[in-house]
Amino acid sequence: MEFRTYSSPHLPATGSVSRMMGFVLLALLPGSLCAVWLFGWGVLINILLAGLAAIAAEAAMLAARRRPVLPALQDGSALLTGVLLALALPPLAPWWIPVIGSLFAIVIAKQLYGGLGYNPFNPAMAGYVVLLISFPLELSLWPATGRVLDLQDTLLLVFSGSLPDTLTLDAITMATPLDAVKTHLGLSETLSEIQGSGVFGSFAGAGWEWLNLWFLLGGLWLLQQKIIKWQIPAGMLAGLFLTALLFYAWNPDIYASPLFHVFSGAAMLGAFFIATDPVSASTTPHGGLYYGLGIGVLTYVIRTWGGYPDGVAFAVLLMNTAAPTIDYYTRPRVFGHDGS
């Protein structure tokens, strides 16, 4: 009797890429809902626009490269890139912001390098940084937490750029806690003076602390499900926390507290969802720690002394360049070798 031949191992496959991406999207759900609660419909519109643009861009690029389109779309990586980008963008940004960002992320930062698995840089962060540098004004307009626009007004603002007569941009936008702290410190105020101004909430920035907390919980679930490894988030949070602690201990008046840093901006989103993007991160176990540490330290440096209120995106991209070197120097000792 004749049989077909296959390659070993022959036991049925367990995990899959689409399952991994699916889990990550699920883990983003609590944080995303919190964002909608804090900032309004704009978050959902961003997610929709960015997600659709990402999928469309991926399909178009794969067709142009003559690769099979449907299997690649089914792995969910394009959708995830779009969603992560959307969560990083201000919810009141015009509609073309998430679209351009997604297009850049998928077409240039991912497909032109070879598609899934070949990009050296995190596509979502590459898209975000391009937007930040090209359209700095649009990317600094965060809504005031609690002053949520209704759906109709949000759609109007996002798609036509105009507000109803009763509202002005000033009335509905507010600086993020990081932005506020940076500005006030720049004006030589001390943190204790800023304390009273409503920037801070219970343990970190107002509103943003809850957002980060939900992302933290989602991330911990991902860890428990073994979708991500603990080294990168631990490294990043440790890097950020310890560096902040160092400076805070030195001068608490002009350096924000470590707790503030760890629960503000994109710290938790970055630690569990962005820095852990397997394609662009370090891949050895020890390397993940150093990679995460580097991101944490760089984030703090950019936040404190750099030109932007949040440094996660730049930090991730900078450490992406270092990932191959980190991998090279953190190769594990092979079984039966001396360790030299």
């Binding site: 009797m1 004749e2 049989f3 077909r4 031949t5 296959y6 390659s7 070993s8 191992p9 022959h10 036991l11 049925p12 496959a13 367990t14 995990g15 899959s16 890429v17 399952r19 991994m20 299997p71 690649a72 792995d75 990586s77 070879g114 598609g115 899934l116 698995g117 070949y118 490894k229 397997p278 394609v279 991160a281 891949t283 050895t284 176990p285 993940g288 991998d327 190769r331 594990p332 000792r333 092979v334 079984f335 039966g336 070798h337």
Partner: protein, 558 residues
């Protein structure tokens, strides 16, 4: 990172502590199909096909030719060199061919085999007999018996046992008997331990006598309680205190020699080295039982236990099979195939290979036949690109970076793959099993390894061809040179003596003068004209007269 024990001189090797190797997987055992069914003997098939290469090393050399009649147990191929093993007829009958025949190998290529048409009578050769009192013999004698019996490692690798037992390196302090059958579906070793524990232990005793270790243990997994009990009972019955039984955690691939040694002793076998380098020998339980039969009963290796299992078999079970039996015969003995059978594997589901035909024979290293339906093992989904998730690194028992090996093997960068220790890969399949992109990683590594070997072979051949070519050019050059010299000296001789006396005459004259001078120098004169008798003087005078007469006659004639 898994720790290592710093034990160099393990005279106090105990087995009460387990070390961990990095990675590994907990797999579903799939053993219930066959583990409770006793071993049944398979009958001798009408045709036995015995490959000359069933082991690691040089193929054996056939001693029989078509038409010869052979008896069961007769050596029909002798070992060639040190690392080789003989082949014995596993049934009596007539040799019908010594020719290439399909053999169990992933390539489906043929190899030289001896084909025997059995006569159904199973007539055994009158053997030299066993040596039940083996302690009265020198270990060397027992080693010879083991070699003559054709015993090779029955755990799957097939290394000639005699070579392993006496590799001549440093003294052995630990003997490990491997009963840790870690691949799913396979139960042949387990059944052997449950049914023939005394044979195994007797075999281990013989090995102990040869190797003289300080510590000896049989490793069983904690998922085999019945096997463990059987061994302990047998040890008690035989009142054996020098062999212990160690129960180890069931993690794939603990049954691999290097991983088992690490788990039991904490020592790591050096890369590209042997366990004997660190004073350890590891033998499979089946090999131990075969050693007992060879030494104490004088029976060469003619049969082995094979697990025939999977959803593609009607009545899966373990069979005691004569070496050379075609797989199709075994499967019929187990009720035949089920309806939707789609894949046929030799070996286990992790490291075994698929074959496209059941016409190949069982050889000494065939431990399992796995026939499965599409439902049990669906066709793997197409491979996606590597997303660099690192799960493969997490499970690799050799502490490698399978991801990097994949990237380099995939892009044919063999130098870099070797740099990342490609040849330390044991091909266990853990990495491919967890890969979310379903990349056939093990096949990539196997491809890279065989390509590297082929390239090295080619390079050696090229170097040899270059040497031969250069030698040939040198030889031609030398011949040309010699000819030119001869020509030149001839020309010179001609040009020197142009117009003078005939050079040949001159040469003869010169030679005569040389001889004369030598004679004078040596003071030699022919001594045969001294001390002549008067008769001799008369004869000489007569001859002189005759010569003188002839000369004047000549002169007158002229």
């Amino acid at each position: 990172m898994a720790e290592r024990a710093n034990i160099q001189n393990a005279s106090q090797q105990t087995f009460d502590r387990f070390y961990r190797f990095h990675g590994g997987l907990k797999l579903a055992g799939h053993r219930e199909l066959t583990v409770t069914v006793p071993i049944a003997p398979a009958d001798i098939p009408p045709l036995l096909v015995l490959p000359l290469l069933q082991h690691i090393g040089e193929p054996a050399e056939a001693l029989v030719k078509p038409g010869d009649s052979v008896r069961t147990g007769q050596m029909i191929a002798r070992p060639v060199g040190m690392v080789s093993a003989p082949v014995h007829a596993s049934g009596s009958g007539t040799v019908v061919a010594v020719e290439p025949h399909p053999v169990p190998h992933p390539s489906a290529l043929p190899a030289d085999c001896i084909v025997i048409e059995t006569d159904g009578r199973d007539q055994w050769l009158e053997a030299a007999g066993g040596l039940p009192d083996y302690r009265s013999a020198e270990p060397q004698v027992l080693l010879e018996r083991i070699r003559e019996a054709g015993i090779v490692g029955l755990g799957g690798a097939g290394f000639p046992t005699r070579v392993k037992l006496a590799s001549g390196k440093r003294a052995i302090d630990t003997l490990i008997i491997n009963g840790a059958e870690c691949e799913p579906y396979i139960t042949c070793d387990q059944r052997l331990m449950r049914e023939r524990a005394t044979e195994i232990i007797e075999g281990v005793r013989i090995l102990q006598y040869i190797v003289q270790p300080e510590a000896c243990t049989i490793a069983v997994e904690d998922s085999m309680p019945a096997a463990e009990t059987a061994l302990r009972d047998a040890l008690e019955m035989l009142q054996e205190t020098g062999i212990s039984v160690t129960r180890i955690p069931t993690i794939y691939p603990t049954g691999g020699e290097r991983q088992l040694i690490k788990v039991l002793t904490g020592r790591e076998v050096p890369s590209q080295g042997l366990p004997a380098d660190i004073g350890i020998i590891c033998q499979n339980v089946g090999t131990a039982a075969a050693v007992y039969r060879a030494v104490c009963m004088g029976t060469p290796l003619l049969s082995r236990i094979v697990t025939v299992t999977g959803s593609g078999i009607l009545s899966p079970r373990n069979l005691e099979v004569r070496i050379g039996t075609p797989l199709s015969h075994l499967i019929s003995a187990c009720g035949g195939y089920t309806q939707d059978v789609e894949r046929l594997l030799i070996g286990g589901p992790m490291m075994g290979y698929a074959v496209n035909s059941d016409a190949v024979p069982v050889i000494k290293t065939t431990n399992c036949i796995l026939a499965v339906t599409r439902e049990e093992m669906p066709a793997p989904p197409p491979a996606l690109p590597c997303i660099r998730c690192g799960r493969c690194t997490e499970v690799c028992p050799a502490d490698l970076l399978p991801q990097q090996l994949y990237w380099y093997a995939h892009s044919d960068n063999y130098d870099a793959a070797q740099d990342y220790d490609l040849f330390d890969c044991i091909e266990c399949g853990c990495c491919a099993y967890v890969c979310p992109s379903h990349i056939p990683l093990v096949q990539h590594y196997r491809h890279a390894k065989t390509e590297i070997w082929a390239q090295e072979k080619q390079r050696r051949k090229s170097d040899l061809a270059r040497q031969r070519h250069e030698a040939r050019l040198e030889r031609l050059e030398r011949i040309k040179q010699e000819r030119a010299e001869k020509m030149a000296s001839k020309k010179q001789a001609l040009s020197q003596d142009a117009g003078g006396p005939d050079p040949r005459q001159a040469a003869i004259q010169a030679a005569l003068e040389r001889v004369k001078r030598k004679k004078e120098q040596a003071g030699v004169s022919p001594g045969n004209t001294d001390n002549l008798t008067p008769e001799q003087r008369q004869q000489i005078a007569a001859a002189d007269q005759r010569r003188a007469a002839q000369q004047t006659g000549d002169g007158q004639a002229e």
